[in-house]
Symmetry: C2
Subunit: 302 residues, 2 copies
């Protein structure tokens, strides 16, 4: 299982020359997803050499402009450049209406199927699933309806140890049962699953927690992920601004990472009042050491 995350835009609210607004590209074992799509994302995707025609789904966390305004332009470009492959868009229900009006006034006709999956307000649910991964949308707390997304590798079948098959002369039925995690019960013996199988490979996971004020349940939503992206719009000294705008401080993001027992914490969505992410990173590290403030173009591989 491979996971590669590319930070397409790491800024907040207003795009600047050095930092695009929120967007991330996730290649999760050849499933290709875009998470959020602020204004200018299509250009940033080009800059970072992401082949956007290969995207299969786009997840939009909420309808603040810096998280979705690039969508109409990206979809139009996909169409102009000849896309025929279906694309799924996960987002608030109003997003579909919003996009359809714009396609109508511009008389845009797509040569590919656009599927909309509406996220339900205040609902935590698995919204995408295939044989090997699942995507969960969970409600976070922002000024308008907003969701985070958690990407998990699914629990695999057990790997049966070949030497045990030989040793115990396991038949096909028994092997399939062991793969499903069951023990083997024979008239004269009892073979425990752990004795017959190899150790499980670690399951890979990533969570994107979008724009949110601090709330303790967030740590449950992102519990145990290898990599957590959390916004850190403010430093703790501006906690009043964070509260007023329903954003988080670096310290709060680190608290979530610590309580959730995540592997690594990456931070973005910094207020333009800070020169760079260094102060933000330093503050978070005081309670969660494995933290990194991100820049556009940064890549993370698991």
């Amino acid at each position: 299982m491979s996971l590669k995350l590319t930070i397409i835009g790491s800024g907040s609210a207003v795009p600047t020359i050095g930092r695009g607004v929120t967007s991330q590209y996730l290649n999760f074992n050849e499933r290709r997803f875009l998470i959020d799509c602020g204004e200018g994302t299509q250009l940033q995707l080009r800059k970072y050499k992401v082949k956007f025609q290969r995207l299969q789904a786009i997840f939009i966390s909420h309808l603040h402009g810096d998280h979705y305004l690039g969508l109409v332009g990206l979809l139009s470009s996909m169409s102009l450049l000849g896309r025929t492959k279906k694309l799924s868009i996960y987002g608030p229900s109003e997003l579909e209406e919003l996009l359809r009006i714009q396609f109508k006034v511009a008389a845009i006709h797509f040569n590919f199927e656009l599927e909309f999956i509406h996220l339900e307000k205040d609902v935590d649910a698995i919204v995408f699933e295939d044989k090997i991964i699942s995507v969960r949308a969970f409600p976070v707390k922002h000024r308008i309806a907003c969701w985070g997304f958690r990407f998990d590798e699914k629990k695999k079948e057990k790997n049966v140890n070949p030497s045990k098959i030989e040793e115990h002369s396991l038949n096909l039925e028994e092997i399939l049962a062991v793969k499903r995690g069951q023990d083997v019960v024979r008239e004269a013996s009892y073979l425990r699953n752990e004795e017959l199988t190899l150790a499980d490979a670690k399951l890979v996971s990533y969570a994107f927690s979008s724009d949110t004020t601090y709330f303790s349940k967030m740590a449950e939503y992102v519990s145990g992920v290898d990599l957590l992206y959390h916004e850190a719009t403010f430093l703790e000294k501006h906690a009043d601004r964070a509260r007023a705008t329903k954003h988080s401080t670096a310290l709060q993001a680190a608290q979530v990472a610590k309580d959730g027992g995540v592997g690594k914490l990456i931070l973005g969505h910094f207020s333009a009042r800070y020169k760079d992410g260094q102060e933000i990173e330093d503050e978070a590290k005081t309670i969660f050491m494995n933290t990194q403030a991100v820049n556009d173009g940064d890549e993370f591989n698991l």
Copy 2:
């Protein structure tokens, strides 16, 4: 009278690293206008050091994404950055609805007045006027409703020649009449206006013809302007593509400039199939010599 035009984006359809999509900034004797506002315009404005809070009006020619998708982001940024000054937006009637829906879902509240002026379909009309300039919107021929804009300095009062005032002892009433262009009729003499006034200063004008297929009436709309921006999406060898997409070739743009008797022709909106604007410029020059293919950031001063 001073006119300064800055090319904010000179590309077509899909923004590229080297060329933003359509937007122009016009400072016409301290009236500050934006013409079109494709995706990424707010960043391009920053790049070219345009103080966008000082804009008083934005003119949107039509609702293809590469001409208006940057508007919500730009207005949001204006609001976030503390704008209080009224802003007027001239565009197709659907534009207001489109923007208001997006402000609503994002729960954006502006601290400044947003005035929408709807352009009437197929109507050629003066849409803005003050003491010294006028702006005319004229219908062009594209796939959807689309307008060009013509910016004219208004005819001024005559300048009365001071030596003539003395020579003929003109009284105040007579001076005001002469300023309005009238002759002076006395019992014993008849003084013609031309004898009493200085030569008129040249009136400055600019026309933006937006996205359009070639049609002969365009030359009338832009007749006599000092500077004409015309799209030249294609070379004449791709005239079939121009016809099919309702765009113009370089040769057609030059024909408009020639028939309209304009001062200088500037070309943009080049299809991404051409490496740069040189071939386009060369083709247009075969029938209109004073032609320039533009790049982002180019400035024109009159």
